[in-house]
Amino acid sequence: APPTPPASGGSATTQALPTDVSSTEKIVRWANWTAYLDYDDATKTYPTLEAFKKKYGINATYSEDIEDNDSYFNKIAPQLRADPPQDIDRDIFVFTDWMANRVVREQLVQPLELIRMPNASNLLDTLKDVSFDPGRTHSLTWQSGFAGIGYHKKKVGRELKSLDDLWADDLKGKVVVLSEFRDTLGLVMLREGVDPSGPFTKAQFETALDEINKRITDGNIRRVKGNSYLEDLKSGNAIAGIVWSGDLFVLRSETEDDDWDFVIPESGGTLWSDNMMIPITSTHRRNAMTLMNYYYDPAVAAQVAAYVNYVCPVVGAQAEMEKIDKDLAESPLIFPSADWIKKNNIKGFRALSPTEDADYSAQWAKVVGN
């Protein structure tokens, strides 16, 4: 029998935190996903971040390190878990709920001092108390979003409405899907009438898995990718796929091509949130919190949302958005109403038990060729 596992369970941080040198080293290093922060092409900078630097005199560096949760986590995990942990050169990273759950449980992140982050109270109520981090003591939502279908209207030549439309013969080999099984399989389960947020069974999961397996084998799916699916869409290797909502709008502005479109499939879409956290190795905790706090200023949040088009978790941002772009302030993709979510049958993916997680991840990994 295996010996008892190392530190796990309970969110109480038992580990000693590294000394904070924020006051002497005015930097904060932020790892985030691609197309997840407002970007100015002309100057090749991130306007809100520039403003932050100016305002606080903290030099923030932003790296689009994260391709998907698993690959980024596995890349840094050995260092974080090493005894003693090794600095990963990042002060903030951003993980989706389920991965945030793991990171918090394994005590790989530092607690937040909410008292230093007054704006944090602007967090949407629905997000305030999450199962993996009760009371938001270790994480703060960055953005939420949906997974659905994205495609290039002109190149596809018709509207895509359902997953079945993606598997059409003329799109064979031109479709990408997400390497996050909670999104890709979530959509397939919805298509099959299974609620991913409900207590679905292993068999139901596997049915969905089989569908993707078949689509890969048959060559409908060209590649299963993390956030870099955007490159395939840009280079023309793919013209449709299962994607994240905001990305397609970023793609629109980047390529100046309004034919890119995002739709929630008829059978429904998935909803998720990504969370900012401070890795256990960070020695710039305060600077990180300053940054988080800054982005919870509704005006700043609106500015970000106007670019990334993801669901904004900040109360008051919608009002700020009115000032920037009326249309966007109405957009359900940024400010969805409960009704809209319901109507479109949008569901979260339920938390998996550790054994389920291990089992499903392994099966998924095999199907996508890992």
Binding site: N74, R81, K174, R222, N370
Partner: protein, 303 residues
Amino acid sequence: MTALAHTGSTAPAGDPPKRKRSWAAYLLLLPATIWLIVFFVVPLIQLFTVSLQSGYPGNPGYYYRDLNFGNYLTAFTQYWPHFVRSLLFAGLATFFAFVLAYPLAYAMAFKAGRWRNVMLICVIAPFFTSFILRTIAWRQILADGGPVMATFHSLHLTWMLPDGRITETWIAVVAGLTYNFLPFMVLPIYASLERADPRVIEAGGDLYANGFTTFRTVTLPMSMPGVLAGTLLTFIPAAGDYVNADLLGSDRSTKMVGNVIESQFFKVPGGFPTAAALSFTLMALILLLVFFYVRKFGTEDLV
């Protein structure tokens, strides 16, 4: 690496007797051997112990010491197609690299005259444009919307391609491997051809062998040490490569062992032991192949 081509040469008659036997020898060899022991042998041993570790169920990413040979079983049973593919792709790439490298090496050695060194630079210089950059360039050049595919379309030749495309097929992967390891094939072959006496090749023609026969019966056998070194230097890294399959291949049908190792390390939680077992198996397999290959071609002293 050109030096690898010296492999086949037995010591010349005038080989100086190994004279000195002294503490100086140990002083000279210690730093490098210590380095290799600490940063090559010890890590390999560590890798081996990792390959026998087990993971805590429910705590992916945490492992404990064990004698879990099941990891090797997994490596074999689950990933044998990847091994087959690795060897196959590496073999194909080695073959194509050989086919492309030989004329180039030959021309450099015998036809280039004063252009010889310029050609040599041309072979090496692309190293300095990072190979990742060049591979990504290929990805764009071969992309569905790229110039190569456009040519195929305009000539109505897409039927020749699997799935009507190049990227995300085995063709792209093999092409990428071929391209990236070509210099490693060219240089040793060039080195061994350069040493060959051109008169010996002329003697082939003089003795009624036409161009091709001379090549087959004289030039090629004479350059065998270089070919041997070149094929090893191409095959080994190609068999362990994952970048080409990653950037140019698709998810399942073109993945090689390298990709599995990489994803077991970096993408799949709890994959360390499997990855280690796969690495070890790959190394053992390649060492075995190298051993038989070298035995067959009679080159014992490779270094």
